[in-house]
Amino acid sequence: MHRTKFFDHVILLAGVFLMIAPVVVAFMTSTHAAAEIHRDGLMLTWGGHFDETYREVLTRQGGFTGKVTGARMVMNSFILGIGFAAGKIVLSMLAAYAIVYFRFRLGVVFFWMIFTTLLLPLEVRILPSYEVMTKLGLVNTYTGLIVPLLASATGTFFFRQFFKSVPDELLEAARIDGAGPFKFFIDILIPLSRTMIAAIFIIMFVYGWNQYLWPMLMTNDESFYTLVRGIKQILLVWIGSQIPDYNEAFAMAILAMLPPVLVVVIFQSWFIKGLTESDK
């Protein structure tokens, strides 16, 4: 095995520093008062206003209408992130199941149709999607926020590859054991896909959590604001000579970063397992 040498550590440390430094700066800065930040710029030292700032961010009724708190935004972000991830997994597993295990006319064509949509980012279809949602009266609803984004070529593709690698004999054994298509899916395929589900959940959760453009279009009611939008909102409050609440913006950014980081850190071993090995 390759032995780690001094130089390897230097490279890794440099990498770590590059990645972590901005986060540290953001966190340190968030503990200072807004005026200080306005005057002195970014901080690398502890400012001592941690408690106030974070409590303020999480509980103060903000926004134009004064009814949205940071906690509410955290909740919205979670609803979006989890709804997004769970929905995508359910949908793409079912799609992949149909593609891999059922012979239907044009099955291959459908697969390639789904597959090519990988090339189309959300932004390309954002206006038509918005149009549809407006017509359906789903603006300012969680449904409107989540459902249009659920179809996932990436997820479908990953699950398809995974299902294809499951030995046929397993399906045959299950058939002889009296498991129909539904039972086979629930009893055999889903448990076998556990690590894969975890991996895709993480990717999709982070993706959903970080959505900015779509929530901005779909919701103008502030009670639907997510953290990511909240950050922007704080910086917009620039009434007269008032200084924007830089500290709060940074605090919010840190809060917005935290859950995805936690999810990744906690599930990383599953994540790697899901993408690299299969439990067969």
Binding site: P167, E169, L170, E172, A173, A174, R175, I176, D177, G178, A179, K183, D187, I188, P191, L192, R194, D279, K280
Partner: protein, 351 residues
């Protein structure tokens, strides 16, 4: 327990590609039938048609008197053991065995009882809570057997269940499966490409070649009376010597030598394929008249005996002899002339 009838069954995977060609086998209740043949001869295909995993192109398959051509695999009352075992990787041994019973709506107490019984028979009691991953190959094999046993089906279907095991374990499991089958009395169809497995396990052997049946018979039948040159070459180890010879006024001409038959069997005039097993020849005793003189090429020492390879003209022969004194280059040999086999050179059928 039931008899299985396979009546003129054929299988086309694509139009024009026959994997199985008009095969008929009547399998008696409690019988252990082994389908044997070289790779690609259609053994698995035939078995999978019985299991319901492949559609039947032509013909009829019946289990216990009921035609099951269009019956779902789950409702055919069969259990199958796969080559790679096909255990459910995420389930414990217990659940692997219980799954088929649960799906059939059996109550918990009965399931427990059956699993416990099967585990006891297969010595798996200590492994019931393990996952397949945590078992050795032989143990996995037994779990696969257990999954079949607990169902108490009308027939067991085995598709090369031992070929993933090492040689020693294979011999052990061979005996175990055979014993188990005798004890349970369940009709079994067993697929293998290993003629030794076929010989040792079968009540009757079905030799398949190119999707057709070459011969059906007891192991001894098939060994002693091979109905075709193919069967002769496939069954038995070392493989039967098959050499071209010529019939001339009741005697056999091999190369430039003549084997005098003295009417031991009728030899038609003209070219024939002569089959002779290595153990049906021996070096001629001193003074006795030899049938043939074999030019020795090399000798394989096997411990219990040895295998002498040589030739007569273009024809290559191997005979087994007891180990002992060194051999000269030219070995006079005698045949057990009743045990010679003659096959039609063109069709390969027994004469």
């Amino acid at each position: 327990m039931a008899h299985v009838t396979i009546d003129r069954v054929s299988k086309d995977y694509q139009a024009g590609v026959r994997a199985v060609d008009s095969v008929s086998i009547d399998i008696a209740d409690s019988e252990f039938i082994v389908l044997v043949g070289p790779s690609g001869c259609g053994k698995s295909t035939l078995l999978r048609m019985v299991a319901g995993l492949e559609t039947i192109t032509e013909g009829e398959i019946g289990i216990g008197g009921r035609v099951i051509n269009h019956v779902d695999p789950a409702d055919r009352d069969i259990a199958m053991v796969f080559q790679n075992y096909a255990l459910y990787p995420h389930m414990t041994v217990r659940n692997n065995m219980a799954y088929g019973l649960k799906n059939r709506g059996m109550n918990r107490a009965d399931i427990e009882k059956r699993v416990a019984e099967a585990a006891a028979i297969l010595r798996l009691q200590d492994y019931l809570e393990r996952r397949p991953r945590q078992l050795s190959g032989g143990q996995r094999q037994r779990v696969a057997m257990g999954r079949a046993i607990v169902r108490e089906p009308a027939a067991f279907l085995f598709d090369e269940p031992l070929s993933n095991l090492d040689a020693k374990l294979r011999v052990d499991m061979r005996g175990e499966i055979k014993q188990l089958q005798k004890r349970l009395g369940t009709t079994s169809i067993y697929v293998t490409h290993d003629q030794l497995e076929a010989m040792t396990m079968a009540d009757r052997i079905v030799v398949l070649n190119g999707g057709r049946i070459e011969q059906i018979g007891t192991p001894l039948d098939v060994y002693r009376q091979p109905q075709s040159a193919f069967v002769a070459s496939f069954i038995g180890s070392p493989a039967m010597n098959l050499i071209t010879a010529r019939g001339e006024s009741g005697n056999l001409v091999i190369g430039d030598q003549t084997v005098v038959m003295d009417g031991a069997m009728t030899v038609p005039d003209g070219p024939v394929t002569l089959g002779v097993r290595a153990e049906d020849m021996k070096p001629a005793d001193h003074g006795a008249t030899a049938h043939l003189e074999l030019a020795i090429d090399y000798v394989e020492e096997l411990g219990a005996g040895r295998l002498v390879h040589g030739h007569v003209g273009d024809a290559r022969l191997a005979l087994s002899t007891p180990s002992g004194e060194p051999l000269s280059d030219l070995l006079p040999i005698v045949f057990d002339r009743q045990r010679l086999h003659l096959f039609d050179t063109a069709t390969g059928r027994r004469l």
